[in-house]
Amino acid sequence: MTDNSGKDPIYRTDALIGEDIDAYLAQHQNKELLRFITCGSVDDGKSTLIGRLLYDSKMIFEDQLAALEADSRKSGTQGQEIDFALLVDGLAAEREQGITIDVAYRFFATEKRKFIVADTPGHEQYTRNMVTGASTADAAVILIDARKGVLVQTRRHSYLAHLLGIKNLVLAVNKMDLVDYDQDIFDNIVSEYGEFAAEIGIESFTAIPISGFRGDNITDAPSANIPWYGGRALIAHLENIEIATNAAQEKPFRMPVQWVNRPNLDFRGFSGLISSGIVKKGDPVRIVPSGKNSTVKSIVTLDGELDEAVAGQSVTILLDDEIDCSRGDVIACADDPPEISDQFESTIVWMSGEALKPGRGYWLKLATQTVSVSVQEPKYEININTMERLAAKTLELNAIGVAEVHTDKPIVFEPYADSRALGGFILVDKITNATVAAGMLHFSLRRAANVHWQATTITREEHGLLKNQTPRVLWFTGLSGSGKSTIANEVEKSLNLMNRHTFLLDGDNVRHGLNKDLGFTEADRIENIRRVGEVAKLMTDAGLIVLTAFISPFRAERKMVREMLPEDEFIEIFVDTPLAVAEERDVKGLYKKARSGQLKNFTGIDSPYEPPENPEIRVNTVEMTPAEAADYIIRQIMPLK
């Protein structure tokens, strides 16, 4: 079946297993671990190559092989020969479609190293999967079909690997058997790729001519068919690539604190995975962001105290001083601690079917820190096939762009190029909890450093006390024509009669002034609500009861405003009117315009309304008159003290 099958591959040490198992185990106890990603499509023979690696390293058992042979005859693409691709295409749906649609992790080992392979699909619509696989990889094997040369997808894969910070790129020119092992073809591909690589900033790469199907230059080099090749076989090359975790020991010490270990009052340990550097007992350290200094008292593990610990180890550190330190903080070497900031330039890979909403709040998780963040409108999107910069208002699924991110409090960070652990982040949707994006911080924008809070003497409590009331925001939400403004007006009239100090912020009125620069796109609507939220907050600081009447169609923005205010001060009032009823009323004639297409982005017609799930108050305007609804609301919110 293969030209090399007669030779026992170097990493199949069967003989030793049988003869001296203790010697074998001793040898394998101290392997290193390398993670790599394979990039390419089924057409490039990627799955075949991985199947070959598993097969040659004896990771495939007889029963799996028997099943594989049966499958190969049924649905294989290699005629009667074994189709290695079937071995690694995991999910049933994928097997039927004949494509890999997710990230699958495979394992094989040689005497020197254990390998974890991230097997990801090659098509453009699976960019997010490739980015995921690349995020943990030390190396990338980029597959090229020797018959086709450097394709658009080769550029894309190389760009993504480079973007995710992979320093070791291997260009595996596959299917050499199908081009008669022609050296000229190989050389031309390498020189064309070299030009492209230099353009996008790839400093070096290693090219190897192989045949995954025939087994050429996989375990031994040069293969008899490729005598002109003077380099290492693929496996030997992977055995010699530098492992990022080892390299990280050269960098300054950092350990993001995951968990505070307090079994009793006498023990207070800080647990975490050391992301870079080395820490020794007695080392001076600084806690960031608080900036407090201390000294390492001991490094505790179940196996006893350690004198030192290095990047890649999970440990528990005790400090000499009783200082404040908790999850999210970073313990760092005192003489070279990481920076903090709250505004960054970043590259973002969008991973959700729901596009980025600039201005909306997401959760950002970086190391062990989770903070609220907003992403500004992208500066540009990157065409990942041509590397051109395109203008963009948002980022859709699989799009990659550069944008500013603003966190609601300063976080500890390092540029991604220096540290994957302190520069890589994910974004999480606050409502669905889905992971919607991954990103890489490049640098701090530092504007935050110059704006400080000015402390004022009269507090919000004192403002409220003087008015004999507790500040509130009564947030009316509902479709256009549901009766928000009418009811809010009734409520304000009643409150006024009761000597309450109020102010009604109305959607239409605000758009005449404060927000007259905003339109009705999704991004503008988000900004509209954000500004109203800020104004409402200032007014409650002044002690007022604020009523707002805005459609405010999105849950996320209502939640954003809720989170700006002290607990219990935000009262969401859902003016619940069915669309048909609101459209029937059509007080301002807007539904008619929207239906005829004269008005775009109209809520309920061509823009969604997300009703509140748990409003504090809900009024049904079909059953209640505006006056009844207002009475009901007043009764719900009393006594307001």
Partner: protein, 304 residues
């Protein structure tokens, strides 16, 4: 001078990091404990992750009442040694209906294990459950996340998995939803054995060869762990022969095939494992029903 970490040190550090993330972010985590060798490794890692505190969550054994006696013995001891609470759950309905591996085939696994697990998680309100599954075990596992998100009805949707980048795990979920977390996802069977050797972890003696009472059933070799009960359920006394056997995986004794072996030390067991030519789960019946997609289908229904 760089200190090179070995693959086992790296895998250990990763598993500990994952466990601490869960404890920091979950409301009420639990560790699934099946008493097998992977569970033994998981429990050992938990002790390391939180030392000197005991692991801050209970152990949960979803029992079928058909496990080997040796497993029940180690279960109690292991929990006690770790200073952890042990919760044993029996599916009351399966117990009442007398569901057993002989008369009910796949229903036995479904009722006792799949349903039993869902019941136990719901009953105690656990929001995160650690499991000892590994990606090298089976094809559909290769694509499962470390943090595997489940709907409120415990379903797994392979098309809707959260992307998992770097070592950043998204543990956020709505009320009622839960997450299964697999800290030893990246370990292979050989890694498990090497770690057990290196750390001197106690495992059930059934993994080592010894003379044991055995019987043949539908072409496979089984151990007669409870002869009386077997007779009751099978309706006849199986023909018992003493053989030197051991087990590559452990489950319900009438469902777990034994292999004839003389490997009585860890090194010999590993030797046999490396020289063997059949995959680990072959000893279990569960993968083969429902065609090639057996495990994937089970997972979508809520099996671990």
């Amino acid at each position: 001078m760089t200190r090179i970490l070995t693959h086992l040190e790296r895998l250990e550090a990763e598993a500990i990091h994952i466990m601490r993330e869960v404890v920091a972010e979950a409301q009420k985590p639990v560790m699934m404990y099946s008493v097998g060798k992977d569970s033994a490794v998981l429990l050992h890692l938990a002790k390391k992750a939180f030392y000197p505190s005991p692991p801050p969550f209970p152990l949960l054994h979803v029992d079928t009442t058909w496990k080997f006696k040796d497993m029940y013995a180690l279960r109690e001891k292991a929990a006690q040694d770790a200073g952890m609470e042990l919760i044993v759950h029996h599916n009351a309905e399966a117990e009442e209906r007398g569901i057993n591996p002989f008369d009910h085939g796949p229903l036995h696994t479904d009722m006792w294990k799949t349903e039993g697990l869902k019941q136990a998680l719901d009953l105690h309100g656990f929001d995160v459950a650690f499991g000892g599954a590994r990606r090298d075990e089976e094809k559909s596992r290769a694509k499962e996340r470390v943090f595997s998100f489940r709907t409120a009805s415990h379903g797994w949707d392979p098309k809707n998995q959260r992307p998992e980048l770097w070592n950043l795990y998204n543990a956020r979920k709505a009320k009622g939803e839960s997450i299964r977390v697999f800290p030893i996802s990246n370990w292979t069977e050989l890694d498990i054995w090497q770690y057990i050797m290196a750390e001197n972890i106690e495992i059930v003696p059934l993994y080592f060869a010894a003379m044991r009472p055995t019987y043949m059933h539908e072409g496979s070799l089984f151990m007669a762990d409870d002869i009386e009960r077997l007779e009751q359920v099978m309706g006849h006394k199986p023909e018992i022969t003493n053989r030197s056997v051991r087990f590559r995986t452990l489950g319900c004794f009438p469902l777990t095939g034994a292999v004839e072996s003389t490997a009585s030390t860890l090194a010999e067991v590993v030797q046999e494992m490396l020289l063997t030519t059949t995959s680990e789960r072959q000893g279990r019946v569960i993968d083969k029903d429902e065609g090639g997609a057996g495990m994937e289908k089970k997972k979508q229904e809520g099996y671990f």
